[in-house]
C-alpha cells in the first residue's frame, strides 16, 4: 500500500505541510479564508529541535492499535487506510492513549481527527506531500 514517508534529512522545518493539511481539510476553497488569522489544527505536525525537524502523521499501521482500541467503532480500516467516522466518535481519546506515534489529535468538534491520506477531502491525494518544497515527505509504495 502507498504510504507517507518522512525523511528528516530533507525537512526544512518550514511547516508548509501543516498549512497544506489544514487547508485541504478545511472544506474551504480559498487559502485566505481557511488559514488567515486562524490557529491551524493540522493532522500532520512538525517536531523540531536543535536543527532537526520532521513531520509526523498517521502511519496507517498494519496492526492499528487505535482502531482495535476504539470504543465506538468509529475508527475503521478501509483498503489499508485508517479512517475516522467523526459523527460516531465521542472523543474518549482512547486512540490518543494507544497511538505510539502521537499522530491522533482532537478536532474542534470534540471528535478526534487524523490523517486519512486526503482520501476524503477535495485534495484527493496527500496535500502535505504535494506541498512539501524539498520532497522530505513522499507518498509511495515500499516493501
Amino acid at each position: 500500500m502507498k504510504r507517507i514517508y518522512v525523511n528528516e534529512k530533507w525537512c526544512l522545518g518550514c511547516h508548509l505541510c501543516e498549512y497544506y493539511c489544514a487547508f485541504a481539510n478545511s472544506g474551504k476553497d480559498s487559502m485566505v479564508k481557511a488559514l488567515k488569522n486562524v490557529t491551524i489544527n493540522p493532522r500532520i505536525r512538525i517536531e523540531e529541535r536543535g536543527g532537526i525537524s520532521f513531520a509526523v502523521s498517521c502511519r496507517h499501521c498494519e496492526e492499528p492499535l487505535c482502531t482495535k482500541s476504539c470504543i465506538t467503532g468509529a475508527l475503521t480500516v478501509n483498503d489499508g487506510v485508517i479512517q475516522i467516522d467523526k459523527d460516531k466518535c465521542v472523543g474518549c481519546y482512547t486512540c490518543i492513549l494507544t497511538c505510539p506515534y502521537g499522530a491522533i489529535v482532537p478536532s474542534e468538534t470534540g471528535a478526534i481527527q487524523k490523517c486519512e491520506l486526503c482520501m476524503n477531502n477535495s485534495a484527493g491525494k496527500p496535500a502535505c506531500v504535494a506541498g512539501c518544497p524539498n520532497k522530505a515527505i513522499v507518498f509511495e509504495e515500499k516493501e
Binding site: E47, K68, G73, V90
Partner: protein, 408 residues
C-alpha cells in the same frame, strides 16, 4: 455443527468473530448472548444519557456485521452450562449446542453489596448495560435528586451522563479520593474540584449505613435525601460457567497469552478474565475495552488454527468529564517526575531505566508515546529521557529509531 461458539456479544466476542474470519472464512460461528441487542459499546451508555451519541451510533459494528461475517446469532438467550466432555453448551430452554472451539466472553456484573433498606428503595439502578441506562433515564426529571454510590469510573461516568438532567447529584464513596484505581491524590483532587465546580457534591471516606425509602443515612450520620439511587461500587467477573466445570479461576478466569483457559478448546477474553500485565508480569483483571477486543481477536485467530499471542497488555485508561480529559497507563511504582500547571497535571513513574506508568490530566496530547514506552519496556538509556519528561515526542528517540518510525 457449529465449529465455533461464542458466549457474549460485546468487544471480546466481536474481536473473536473478526479474529476467526481472518483465518477461516467458512467455519460456522454461533454467537449466544443474554442481551437481545445488536452489539453495542458498553462504555457509551453514559454518552447516550449525556446526549453525545444515540442508539444507532453506539452500535459497536454496522448493522450488517453478523450477516457479513456469517454469524448465527442467538441473542436474548442465556447459556446455563458448559459440558466439556460432550463439548456442548446448554441454553436456558434446555437446547444443547455443540462446539469445537468455545469462547467465553461473559463480562462482568455490577456488585451490589448488602445495604440495609436498599430493597425499600423504588428507584434503584445499576449502570452497566444499555437497558440499565434507559431505565435510569426514564426515572430522571428536572427536579430529581440523584445519589450515586461509588466514585470510580462507572459511578463518575454515570454522574456525567445525568448531571444536566437532574437537580442535584450526590456521590458517596468509602475511599478517601475519587477514581482511586487510576489517579493519585493530586490528580483526584484536581478532578474532584472540577466536578464540584459543575455542581457535583462528594461525600468521601463515608458510606451508606442504611436507606430509609428516599433518605440515605451515612456512617458519618449525615443524611442525603434522594429520588433515584445508582449503585456503582464495583463489578464481579462472570466466571461461573468456567469455574463450575473446574476451569482455573481466581477473581476471574485465568487465561494464557493465547487466551486459552485451563480447559482444552475453551478460550476466554474480556472483563471475565485475568491475564498478565506485560510490564510487571502480574496476573490482573484488566477490564477495559481495548484489552477485551484484542484478547478476543487473539482467541479467535488461535481458535481458527492460526497463531497469535497477546502479550502486551497493561492497565490503561482514557476518560474525561465535561471535556476535562485524563489518560493513565501502567503501574504507579518507582521514582516519580511530576508537573502541575493550572489544570494540567502530569506524573511519570520510572524504575530500573524503564517507564512504568503515567498520569496525564488536562493536556493529554500524544500520550500514546508514553504508553508504548511502557509496553515495549524501552530502555530509557536509549532515549533522551529529559525530552520525554518534557512532553511525549518522537524527538526523544535516536535518529535510527525515528527513521524506523517514519521513513520505513
Amino acid at each position: 455443527m457449529s465449529k465455533y461458539v461464542i458466549i457474549g456479544n460485546s468487544a471480546a466476542a466481536i474481536g473473536c468473530v473478526e479474529g476467526i474470519r481472518q483465518v477461516d472464512q467458512k467455519g460456522e460461528i454461533t454467537l449466544i448472548a443474554s442481551e437481545p441487542h445488536h452489539t453495542y459499546s458498553r462504555p457509551l451508555i453514559s454518552y447516550l444519557l449525556y446526549g453525545k451519541t444515540d442508539e444507532q451510533k453506539m452500535k459497536y459494528r454496522p448493522n450488517d456485521f453478523y450477516k457479513k461475517n456469517k454469524v448465527i446469532k442467538r441473542l436474548g438467550e442465556t447459556v446455563t452450562e458448559i459440558d466439556k466432555k460432550e463439548k456442548t453448551v446448554t441454553l436456558k430452554n434446555g437446547e444443547k449446542i455443540p462446539y469445537e472451539k468455545l469462547l467465553v466472553a461473559t463480562g462482568s456484573n455490577p456488585f451490589v453489596p448488602h445495604m440495609e433498606g436498599l430493597e425499600s428503595v423504588k428507584n434503584r439502578f445499576s449502570f452497566m448495560t444499555l437497558d440499565d441506562a434507559k431505565a435510569l433515564d426514564k426515572a430522571l426529571k428536572k427536579d430529581t435528586r440523584a445519589l450515586v454510590v461509588g466514585a470510580g469510573l462507572i459511578g463518575l461516568k454515570c454522574v456525567e451522563g445525568i448531571l444536566d438532567k437532574v437537580a442535584t447529584v450526590n456521590v458517596v464513596d468509602l475511599a478517601d479520593r475519587i477514581l482511586p484505581s487510576i489517579l493519585d491524590e493530586t490528580g483526584s483532587g484536581l478532578v474532584k474540584k472540577f466536578l464540584e465546580s459543575k455542581g457535583v457534591e462528594f461525600h468521601l471516606r463515608d458510606s451508606v449505613e442504611r436507606f430509609e425509602k428516599n433518605k440515605a443515612v451515612l456512617k458519618s450520620k449525615k443524611t442525603i435525601e434522594f429520588d433515584v439511587v445508582v449503585i456503582a461500587v464495583g463489578v464481579r467477573p462472570n466466571i461461573s460457567l468456567v469455574s463450575d466445570i473446574g476451569g482455573k479461576c481466581r477473581r476471574a478466569i485465568i487465561t494464557n497469552n493465547k487466551c486459552e483457559t485451563s480447559i482444552k478448546d475453551i478460550y476466554a477474553a474480556g472483563d471475565c478474565t485475568e491475564s498478565a500485565d506485560c510490564a510487571t508480569g502480574d496476573m490482573k483483571v484488566m477490564a477495559l475495552l481495548p484489552n477485551a477486543y484484542m484478547q478476543g481477536e487473539t482467541a479467535g485467530i488461535n481458535m481458527a488454527g492460526g497463531t497469535k499471542l497477546y502479550e502486551n497488555a497493561i492497565p490503561m485508561n482514557a476518560i474525561g468529564f465535561f471535556g476535562y480529559h485524563m489518560i493513565t497507563a501502567g503501574d504507579y511504582i518507582g521514582q516519580t517526575y511530576e508537573t502541575l500547571e493550572g489544570e494540567n497535571y502530569k506524573k511519570l513513574f520510572y524504575k530500573d531505566n524503564r517507564l512504568m506508568g503515567y498520569i496525564m490530566i488536562g493536556d493529554v496530547m500524544r500520550a500514546g508515546i508514553y504508553t508504548s514506552l511502557i509496553k515495549n519496556k524501552t530502555d530509557l538509556a536509549t532515549i533522551d529521557f529529559e525530552l520525554i519528561k518534557e512532553k511525549p515526542q518522537l524527538m526523544a528517540f535516536s535518529k535510527k529509531k525515528r527513521s524506523e518510525f517514519l521513513a520505513k
